[in-house]
């Protein structure tokens, strides 16, 4: 009896290890973790064809989701594309690796103003991929007053016609900015006020959405939505009635950059992939497809001049005077987590 128990324990362990091994079998597959709908899928195919490296492509909807998966979930991604504040946090926590920029010759095309930003001051960990602003997208046919302030998202006239982002930092930023606070506020009272504002707004909100916002706004399911500027460009292309504004109270300026998580198993291939994304033709393809603003000088030049000079996609620095970049809030983020959960549960 005893012997058989030991035997069976052994066999269960063997099966476990064997099956566990299956998953991590080492072929040259590059695991890429990116925002939903944030790449031209033909680019992946082209990379696979040119290099013979297979790409396993996964998507996330918020920075937080990505962070939890990489930090707590032990998922071994070779490439991830988070935003500024999240990169700062990941650098602090040792979750990303230094990139060998000798392997990324195409880095020279990135505009200087996107290098050495606050979240990666020495520029060792990240390569800018896209950038943009947060703003309000509205349907001209459904909204007849001028849209220039976050306040319109609290206007009862548009009850059940407003789409908010299902993303804690972004939604709280909207409320904080509406109240003229900093979107990086670490003041309990300000955060509480923002929470109450969002709770008060709940009855007016049709849904808290992620990537489906594009589909909803193009299909005219709602009148107003909080969106990222790049998505606004894509949506305007599909439905010309949709207009984008950066509210006067100020907005969020974000930079999404490519990083190599420290759990990566294929660093060399990952660098190859980063360099590939920075190649002029590829960067052009991506910015053209997803509509976000590229930090790549040459790619921008190839864009339709109307887009390349549009104030929506490429706002001048003076338009961005009261725009803030998210910064990592350290442990204060716990408060944001709690407040956001309370808003969603209300």
């Amino acid at each position: 009896m005893k012997k058989s128990v030991i035997l069976s324990i052994l066999s269960v362990f063997l099966i476990t290890i064997f099956l566990g091994g299956c998953g991590s079998k080492d072929q040259t597959t590059l695991n890429v973790y990116n925002w939903g709908d944030y790449i031209d899928s033909s680019v992946i195919k082209q990379f696979e064809k040119e290099t013979g490296i297979k790409v396993n492509y996964d998507t996330f909807a918020t920075n937080e989701e990505m962070y939890v998966k990489i930090n707590k979930g032990n998922a071994s991604y070779d490439i991830a594309i988070p935003s500024d504040y999240m990169i700062e946090k990941m650098i602090k926590e040792g979750l990303v690796e230094k990139i060998d920029f000798n392997n990324i010759p195409n880095y020279q095309y990135i505009e200087d103003r996107f290098k050495n930003l606050e979240f990666d001051p020495t520029n060792e960990y990240s390569v800018p991929y896209m950038w943009g602003t947060l703003g309000i997208l509205y349907n001209k046919k459904m909204v007849d007053e001028p849209v220039d302030s976050w306040d319109i998202l609290w206007n009862p006239k548009y009850e059940k016609q407003i789409l908010m982002l299902d993303s804690q930092r972004d939604s709280l930023a909207v409320a904080l900015k509406k109240l003229n606070y900093s979107m990086n506020s670490t003041n309990d009272a300000e955060l509480e006020a923002a929470k109450n504002a969002l709770i008060e707004q709940r009855p007016l909100v049709l849904a808290y959405v992620g990537d489906e916002v594009k589909d909803k706004m193009i299909g005219e399911e709602a009148a107003l939505a909080v969106v990222w500027g790049g998505d606004a460009v894509t949506m305007h292309r599909e439905n010309p009635d949709l207009e984008y504004v950066i509210p006067k109270e100020g907005t969020n300026l974000f930079v999404d950059s490519i990083v190599i998580p420290s759990t990566a198993k294929h660093k060399a291939e990952a660098e190859k992939f980063i360099d590939f994304l920075c190649r002029t033709d590829i960067a052009f393809k991506n910015t053209d497809y997803i509509g976000y603003s590229t930090p790549h000088m040459e790619a921008r030049k190839q864009l339709d001049p109307e887009l390349a000079n549009s104030p929506i996609a490429y706002p001048e620095p003076e338009d961005l005077e009261n725009a803030e970049i998210f910064i990592d809030l350290g442990t204060y983020i716990e408060q944001y987590n709690r407040v956001w959960t309370e808003i969603k549960s209300h």
């Binding site: 099956l19 998953g23 939903g36 979930g73 032990n74 998922a75 992620g210 489906e212």
Partner: protein
Amino acid sequence: MVNRIMQRIYLCLIFLFLYAPIVILIVFSFNDSKSRAKWNGFTLRWYKEMIQDPQIRSALYYTLAIAIIAALIATIIGTFAAIGIHNMKRWKRNIIMNLTYLPVLNPDIVTGISLMILFIFISSRFSILSPGFGTMLLAHITFNIPYVILSVLPKLKQLDKNLYEAALDLGATPWYAFFQVILPQIAPGIVTGALLAFTLSLDDFVISFFTTGAGVSNLSILIYSMARRGVNPKINALSTVLFITVLFLLLLINARSSKDRVRKEHA
């Protein structure tokens, strides 16, 4: 008579409720537009895109691979477990059966997160079992085994104990007796259990969602993430293909069993 008509009408309404959404998905999978309210002409474009979509292809592969392997392993472990449990003393059997019911009764989401915690705990300490295909498979085997046991046990209860002993008396080795006498009699239970395990595994979303890792999605996970991105006609095409497959398989099984019935009646 009136009663019967009322019954038919009621059933028809229920079937309308059950089938209308599916039929509409199927119809709109041929619609030459992303719109889901207007008909813009017939197209097979979404089917072509679906077949070419690498994510859908790999999801299909993972779904089938996991369902087949998980059902197989769960059936083997579960069948042996059922035989062992059947031969246990009553109080011991009760304890183990209660444990067996635990994953059946426990909410999927709790099973899912508890396994997720376990796998992450193991992989962060021993650098084996990093989340992915392997962990998802282990999770599927885990929730499948109880269903196999619950399908096999009733058959064992019906079993005539004397048969096995008679075989031994006639000189059969225990294993020979097991394969020749017991196994054929509990086979229907094993098959039911295996099929149940297979379908549960095919359809599972919640547990897979929590136990998978980088780059491994089954169909359910893929559909969830696609649906969260908005309406996508490729999903319609996928639904159609899955629906037709299910329909075909069920008709096949039904035809076979009714043929058996006819044969039996004639015999």
